[in-house]
């Protein structure tokens, strides 16, 4: 306790006092960390919100189930044969239930004239074992669906009220013929499904009907195996694996991204990583700037008897304090950036999928922001702290700090960068005419970006220097502060910006390539597959001679 108190006192006198006394620098560091955390949070919000709709028949669907639920996911997306489900029923000993689910995101035209994304979900009333009881079976037996065109679907009462939907209203699903579905029931238990696509859920009366609506009769999207209490989960998993070998894989419930999105996740991770790197770089730059000039003071404190380990720990704690403040300051701005990214990019990325995204503020963001800030602060401090310990007090005392060290950026980045840019422009102009294959075009773009990086590295510090000179005339105190080490600062900042530009370009490039690839594969499929498989008629017409949905039979058939 006494040691802690002594440590706190030293920290207060040496480090906190410095932060308070040099409040302008501290503020600059805090703002730097906040900028970094803003980038990190913005990208993370975009990523998490994009994944959220596809989480709906994974973890969100099984939130009420006991631990140990095994999800069976077909190897071909959305194509788990019903025969396999039946075999799971019959052959997996120790399973309490095997619940096939047909699920997909789909846009639905709502009466007001707009479109809203819904999660269409079909299965037996055993779904209650996954999401919790919502009176499904009783309603199926006791309450007739409202009259309307096509299949009766149910949605939460809250959502129906929100969209102005009434019982019997037609639910138009783009891609299906008019009159395919209507609102048959509503249910009050919103909390059962509010985690699934924010509660925008359409429940089909059965898995078959949902499969028909989604154009994949005879198949389920996935199946969930619930182990009976007290049974060995690994034995059940082994049984499942035996049945589904070659057809599907089994594991804990997970988000189900569409095929194109699976690849896009990597790009989003790359963008998030770039955001994190940029955030850390900005924070490191600013904090380095703030602590560099204090090396001599820290050296003096070391000379008069502070232990190196104490100074090292104190500096890391100081970084953590600055990082924490910056992290907390970055939470609101990070959320705003995330909201902007979700509204501008997220919605366009999900357009047509039926998925709806909106930035949600959760307390987790505060924790993530604080943690990201602390990490940034500590990472920024590790360098100077380690240097202080490595050099020893004498060398640190003799150091002049960042202020007096002149740095000169050589001319070669400008020359080489300009050359690369000019070369890239020439190659891309030729590429535009179509006389070059794709590879030179992509490589030309990359070379051009490298040129931008090098030119920025040369120009940015000089431009910043001019701006800082102007600022110094208007606000000398702020100008001198920024001017202390602006060359290194802007140099690193230029690298950060260039890194972000490069990774964004890679992300866009790889996404475009994926779409191109998907289109090409689609075109090739048409040539390879027999014509009999191409039946573009509406679903109702495909079931020649039979009613589109034999609803009266299926509703009666539903049982646990």
């Amino acid at each position: 306790m006494q040691r802690l108190r002594a440590g706190w006192m030293s920290f207060r006198r040496i480090h906190l006092a410095a932060l308070v006394a040099d409040w302008r620098r501290t503020l600059l560091s805090v703002i730097g960390v906040a900028l970094g955390v803003t980038v990190v949070l913005g990208v993370l919000i975009l990523k998490s919100e994009l994944v959220r709709p596809f989480d709906s028949f994974g973890p969100s669907l099984t939130h009420a189930a006991d631990m140990g639920v095994v999800e069976v996911t077909p190897n071909v997306s959305g194509r788990l044969p019903i025969e396999t489900v039946n075999r799971l029923h019959a052959e997996v000993a120790g399973a309490e239930a095997v619940i096939p689910i047909v699920a997909a995101l789909t846009p639905v035209d709502v009466p007001g004239g707009g479109t809203h994304g819904f999660f269409l979900l079909g299965g037996s009333c055993q779904i209650e074992l996954l999401v919790g009881s919502f009176n499904c079976e009783q309603r199926a037996h006791d309450a007739n669906p409202a009259h309307g065109p096509g299949v009766p679907l149910q949605i939460p009462t809250v959502i129906a009220d929100r969209l102005g939907l009434h019982l019997g209203d037609e639910l138009r699903i783009p891609g299906l013929p008019p009159g395919s579905a209507h609102l048959g029931w509503t249910f009050q238990e919103f909390d059962r499904v509010k985690g699934i696509n924010d509660g925008y859920v359409l429940l089909a009366p059965s898995g078959d009907i949902a499969a028909s609506l989604l154009g994949s009769p005879g198949y389920a999207t996935a199946a969930f195996v619930l182990p009976r209490q007290g049974n060995n989960i690994s034995a059940i998993a082994a049984g499942v694996d035996r049945v589904i070998a070659g057809v599907a894989t089994a594991g804990p419930p997970r988000p189900h991204l569409p095929a194109v999105f699976e690849g896009a996740t990597q790009n989003l991770n790359l963008a998030a990583l770039a955001g994190i790197i940029v955030g850390v770089l900005i924070a490191v730059n600013t904090i380095l700037l703030a602590v560099e000039d204090r090396r001599a003071v820290m050296g003096t404190i070391g000379a008069i008897g502070a232990k190196p380990v104490g100074l090292f720990g104190g500096m890391l704690c100081e970084g953590a304090v600055v990082g924490l403040l910056g992290g907390l300051l970055g939470v609101p701005s990070g959320f705003l950036l995330g909201t902007y990214l979700v509204n501008s990019f997220g919605r366009s990325m999900l357009a047509g999928s039926g998925g709806t995204v909106a930035a949600h503020f959760t307390p987790n963001l505060i924790v993530i922001g604080a943690a990201a800030g602390i990490v940034c602060g500590i990472l920024a401090m590790i360098g100077p702290a380690a240097r202080l310990v490595r050099d020893g007090p004498l060398a640190s005392m003799a150091s002049a700090g960042g202020v007096q060290r002149a740095r000169k950026i050589p001319i070669w980045p400008l020359v080489v960068g300009a050359g690369m840019l000019a070369g890239a422009v020439v190659v891309l102009k030729i590429f535009e005419r179509g006389s070059l294959p794709l590879n030179p075009g992509i490589n030309g773009m990359t070379v051009g970006l490298c040129g931008v990086v090098l030119v920025t590295v040369w120009i940015a510090p000089r431009g910043a220097g001019l701006l800082i000179e102007l600022l110094t005339i208007a606000r000398p105190a702020v100008g001198r502060l920024l001017g202390a080490d602006f060359r290194r600062y802007t140099l690193l900042f230029a690298f950060s910006a260039a890194l972000l530009a490069e990774s964004t370009s890679l992300t866009i490039g790889s996404h475009s390539m994926q779409l191109l690839g998907t289109r090409q594969i689609g075109a090739q499929k048409a040539d390879r597959l027999p014509a009999a498989l191409f039946d573009c008629r509406p679903i109702g017409a495909r079931s020649a001679g039979r009613p589109a949905f034999r609803l009266h039979v299926r509703v009666g058939d539903r049982s646990r």
Binding site: Q2, R3, R5, A6, M9, S10, R13, I14, A17, A18, V20, A21, D22, A296, V297, T300, I301, G302, A303, I304, G305, A306, K307, P308, V309, G310, G392, P393, L394, M397
Partner: protein, 280 residues
Amino acid sequence: MLPDGTLAVSSAAGEAYRPADRGKHRSRHRLLTLARRADPDIAAVPSVKPVLQLKGVGKTYRRGDEQVHVLVDFDFTLDAGEFVVVTGPSGAGKSTLLHIAGGLDAPDSGTVAVAGQDVWSMSTGARAAFRRRNLGFVFQFFNLVPMLTAVENVSLPLVLDGMPARSADARAEELLERVGLGDRARHRPAELSGGQMQRVAVARALVARPSLILADEPTGNLDSHSSTEVLGLLRSLSDDDGAAVVLVTHDAAAARYGSRELHLVDGRAHAIDAAPAGER
């Protein structure tokens, strides 16, 4: 006179804070200082260890392709309560000597013992703690912590040593009173003159009652009036507390404050002059 030959004089030691292991040593310094005043031959009392002992110390720096021998097989002994002034031309090794003696710069060869303990055989952390408790530093550029007030600067070594802030500040205020800066205790270094800053630095060097004070050109940045003031202060305070002092200076006038003068040329002690009688 005690049976072992030392004088029995009551000590002022232990009045506020002091690591237990230094209490005896401090008392010995005090005893020796008082005893010396009574009898100059008392320095030869065999039971007292030298405060600082350098044996065969060598230090070489590399400047480009050239090897510069800053200290060559250097021997030096400083007894408790002594005030030695080290002079010599630039590059003679004066500051290096001070840094090596203070545990700030490692010698290439030889041993350095402060209060009987080999400074360079300790771990880095132990050496820092040893410096905190046994050594006081006064630098040419004051090297005060700019964001702390005068009293906080002075109490810093005690706070680092784990002493409660209130007690440390009380001891610091007492020392600031002694250096004539009681009314400037709550001022930051930027609000003090050069002479005042150096007086704060002297107070900081003495606050932990060290056995040895190392002053590296403490008047190098001061005008003549402030220089006289600081040197007088350093001498009288170290005298009162019984601390030995090694003072490196270019200032010829500073030599008269020492009990002896050590003249360094090319890393070797060339001349050791006795200080004018009665100065110490």
